[in-house]
């Protein structure tokens, strides 16, 4: 292990610019002649648009142009595409309504854009927007999914019963038979609360058109620039790739919400050519609440069949999944392939059936948010397992151990499509029990009781599927894109290295982790390696960052490109050292002739590649740059155990997380400091879902939690310090053995918290508390149990 190599907590390269105010976020960029856009948004959830009169706005001070949906339609601008197609159980395709970038005919959620004003200043654009007269004929809104499928107003005329698809996995008859033969059935009803991602950087777009060349540039806050180029270029605006540059510079957090192609990106890019000037739009936070894709929002009924020993016999799940008013980019895949396929969890449940019905409502579109489907699956499983244990009088740890997939059973084929490649659930469980001092819990509970608090202990043993994704598998499941990753490793003549990656870092620390990887692989100094991402004119191609894929897919691509560099260098060294290629060894940045002291440093080989005076020209090109595309063979399967300890104040319902322990298996760890940081952040978002965060609509479709004053974000004094560690089993199908860490914290933590709250309240007769376990919800659960 070198000072900056794999396994070392190297301090981050990114930090200096961020700590000194020298980051380059999209809103920090300004272009000559720039104008500003303001979007007029619907204040009602559902209405017919009779007409939009923009004449007064067009005459207002500083206004350059005003556009509506009719202008886009006149230019044949397409709707926003969905990147994943699903089918009904009978094979019919899902209902995929048009998603115009500016509303046409109807508005379908509060925040749906009706018109855009382009003006000299932000203030002028906003003022002029108030002069637009939108003649709207209000329609009843449908918000509740159960009402939506039972004859509520249709969000889209073509979607009967507001159903996008009704999909199932598993053999229902076999599962039903398992239930018929069961000794015990535990059932649970869950509302997995709707969340609003809330990256602290609001979305921003800045579009520019150069008439002389016909080139477009869009600076935008995205997690995947090439995906935006493809979706917007090919499907919305018909701009070919070589004329469309997408730049995502420093991006201030994403958590999934910046994966998707948003209306503002397309409208600004199109309008920049219409007005012939750059246009910038910066979301106000209230717009983030109303337009960034939301997360979760499932209503589920689940049943677990067990024998009298507590062995799981079957699982039956019925889920309504909210799609919101339109299909966001990856929305259909989240409750199906990222949720239903995870329902085996870490257990040997032999028979599983899940029916997922995706529902349109007059709410903001719902899509992937940190974990995407896997938190919902984990929550469901870990709650029902805990509930079953309680009902049957089995210890919480014991019931999990009894049903674990054993560590010698890999590769393990689950009944819901996935094949897990590696894992050791007992190892993460026992490490967590020790780290959380579970043996000392009884004493701590007594001490808390003396202070009038109810202390509870909750577990979550989880798995997730990430490293998204094998293209062939994803394609067979409805993905409309490949999901490989690409890398270029460019060695410069003096031996320094630039790595071009198709992934994107918006907090994940790629500039450090990938540099460690290449530094170790090529034996060059860590400081001599720079990582470039986020610009389609610099990066060959890429699918971006989501689904904890950057290292497992993107890192492997980098490694493969680096290995090609090593191989080419060996040929050069063999020529110059007058040895056979087979006799050249490469280690620690030096090529040596086996058994001799003849050697060439990596830098000397690089120089020889660019100054090829003594060079095997007949068989080798000059230069030292290699690319690789890597498409994984399988998903990766991180897993682990989270243990949460809470104090509940029975008088107020306030829940205090007093201890939180996470032991995760994320495969090989490149930089422990960065891995722990990812877990801290994910766990906090999971605790946020468990105790604080909730997107609330009233029955008219008004978003009641539309600001930081109403939507409770976790703050420093809401959470404790954490105990975080890792146990490694290596991924079996990538050469690094890495699995991914971006989402584990958010996936594993939420049920551990709620299981702890239920444990604390068990003596009061409480068997469940709704998400989030806010003081009001907890207090009410106590009162209802005692009634």
């Amino acid at each position: 292990m070198t000072e900056h190599g794999i396994g070392v907590s190297v301090k981050r390269k990114e930090d200096r610019r961020f700590l000194t105010g020298n980051g380059n976020y999209t809103d920090d960029i300004n272009r000559p002649g720039q104008t500003y856009a303001y979007f007029l948004r619907s204040q009602v959830a559902h209405a017919e648009i009779n007409g939009v009169d923009t004449s007064a706005a067009e005459k207002a001070d500083g206004v350059v142009a005003v556009f509506t949906g009719a202008d886009l339609a006149a230019d044949e601008v397409g709707g926003l595409p969905c990147g994943w197609g699903l089918t009904f159980q009978n094979g019919d395709p899902m209902v995929e309504p048009a998603h115009p970038a500016l509303a046409q005919g109807k508005v379908r959620h509060v925040g749906d854009a009706i018109a855009v004003v382009v003006a000299e200043t932000k203030k002028q654009a906003k003022a002029a927007a108030q002069l637009i007269e939108a003649d709207l004929n209000g329609l009843p809104a449908v918000v509740d999914m159960k009402k939506a499928i039972e004859g509520g107003t249709l969000v889209h005329d073509e979607a009967a019963e507001n159903t996008c698809y009704d999909w199932a996995i598993g053999e229902k008859a076999d599962v039903d038979a398992a239930f018929d033969g069961a000794d015990h059935v535990t059932s649970i009803d869950i509302v997995n609360n709707r969340l609003i991602p809330n990256a602290i950087e609001p979305r921003v777009a800045l579009a520019e058109y150069e008439a002389a060349s016909g080139d477009y540039t869009l600076y935008t806050t995205t997690q995947n620039p090439h995906v935006i180029r493809l979706l917007m270029g090919a499907f919305v605006l018909q701009i070919p790739e070589h004329k469309l540059k997408i730049v995502a510079p420093d991006v201030g957090g994403g958590f999934g919400s910046k994966i998707f192609h948003y209306a503002e990106e397309a409208v600004l890019t199109w309008a920049s050519a219409k007005v012939g000037r750059p246009i910038k739009w910066t979301a106000e936070r209230s717009e983030s609440f109303m337009t960034d894709a939301h997360g979760r929002d499932h209503v589920t009924h689940a049943e677990l069949a067990l024998d009298k020993e507590g062995t799981f016999l079957g699982l039956r799940v019925q889920t309504l999944a909210n799609m919101g008013s339109y299909l966001s980019t990856f929305a259909p895949a989240v409750p199906t392939y990222l949720h239903a396929t995870l329902l085996a969890g870490v257990y040997t449940t032999p028979l599983i059936y899940a029916n997922i019905r995706a529902v349109f409502t007059n709410t903001v579109p719902v899509d992937a948010y940190r974990g995407a489907g896997r938190p919902e699956a984990t929550y469901l499983l870990e709650r029902i397992v805990s509930k079953a244990a309680r009902e049957m009088g089995i210890d919480q740890v014991e019931i999990r151990r009894k049903n674990f997939i054993p560590s010698d059973a890999f590769p393990y084929q689950t009944p819901v499509a996935l094949q897990y490649d590696s894992g050791d659930y007992e190892a993460t469980l026992s490490a967590a029990l020790e780290a959380a001092d579970v043996d000392g819990f009884a004493g701590r509970r007594e001490a808390a009781a003396r202070d009038g608090k109810l202390r509870g202990l909750g577990y979550s043993t989880y798995i997730e599927a990430c490293g998204v994704a094998p293209s062939a598998v994803a394609g067979a499941l409805g993905a409309r894109a490949g999901l490989y990753e690409s890398a270029v490793v460019r060695v410069h003549p003096t031996g320094s290295v630039t790595v071009f990656t198709g992934t994107h870092s918006h907090g994940q620390s790629h500039e450090t982790t990938f540099a460690q990887l290449v530094s170790e692989q090529l034996g060059v100094d860590f400081e001599a390696v720079d990582v470039v991402h986020g610009d389609t004119s610099k990066i060959q191609f890429g699918m971006g960052t989501y689904g904890s894929r950057s290292l497992a897919v993107g890192g492997e691509a980098i490694l493969r490109a680096a290995n090609k560099i090593v191989d080419k260098g060996r040929k050069i060294a063999a020529h110059i050292l007058e040895a056979s290629e087979a006799d050249i060894e490469f280690a620690d940045g030096s090529y040596t002739v086996k058994g001799t002291d003849k050697a060439m440093a990596f830098g000397e080989v690089a120089l020889a590649a660019y100054v090829p005076h003594n060079y095997p020209h007949e068989t080798l090109e000059p230069g030292l740059e290699e690319s690789a595309f890597y498409d994984p063979l399988n998903f990766t399967f991180p897993g682990g155990c989270h243990v949460c300890e809470v104090d509940v104040d029975p008088d107020t319902g306030v829940v205090d997380v007093v201890n939180f322990t996470a032991v995760d298996d994320v495969g090989r760890v490149i930089n422990p400091m960065i891995v722990e940081g990812q877990v801290h952040g994910g766990v906090t978002q999971g605790i946020g879902q468990a105790l604080l965060e909730n997107a609330v609509y009233d029955e008219n479709g008004q978003l009641l939690s539309g600001s930081y004053m109403d939507y409770t974000m976790p703050r420093a004094d809401d959470v404790p310090s954490y105990h975080v560690s890792t146990e490694e089993t290596l991924c079996a199908h990538n050469s690094l053995g890495v699995k991914g860490v971006g989402e584990v914290g958010a996936i594993g933590s939420t049920p551990a918290v709620i299981n702890a709250v239920v444990d604390a309240l068990a003596e009061k007769g409480v068997t469940d508390v709704p998400l989030p376990a806010s003081p009001q919800n907890v207090w009410r659960a106590i009162q209802e149990a005692g009634a």
Partner: protein, 155 residues
Amino acid sequence: MATVSMTVNGNAVAADVEPDTLLVDYIREHIGLTGTHVGCDTSQCGSCCVMLDGDSVKSCTMLAVQAEGAEVTTIEGVADNGEFHPMQQAFHDNHALQCGFCTPGMVISAIDLAAKNPDIDEAGVRRGLEGNLCRCTGYHNIVKAVLAGAQAMKG
């Protein structure tokens, strides 16, 4: 339009701005220092914190004209000739930042908190940072960094 003058990071600056211009817009758009960020519109997130006459303030919550004649330090003015301030160093050493967007406001708040409470403990740091949102770090490493930075600031 009104001419607003102040000292920013030791430099005298002046700009003609609309009277309703927020201090943060003055700093970002008129002075061109983009290290100070805007993350919300309700004074909740703290990304826009700057030092104003020795106190951390949310620069989205005051008008530029209210800062007339003031001494302002933004994140760009915290380091000393390229040398990290002890709090910046502590953030770097403890991996207290990920995407970096909340970081400028977080560092400014932390410096103010530590300067006024040199012997601050974990609970004090958590309470003291209540006005700064971070979505990436879960605060764990920020708290560690502020405690370490507070020690280092005592010299």
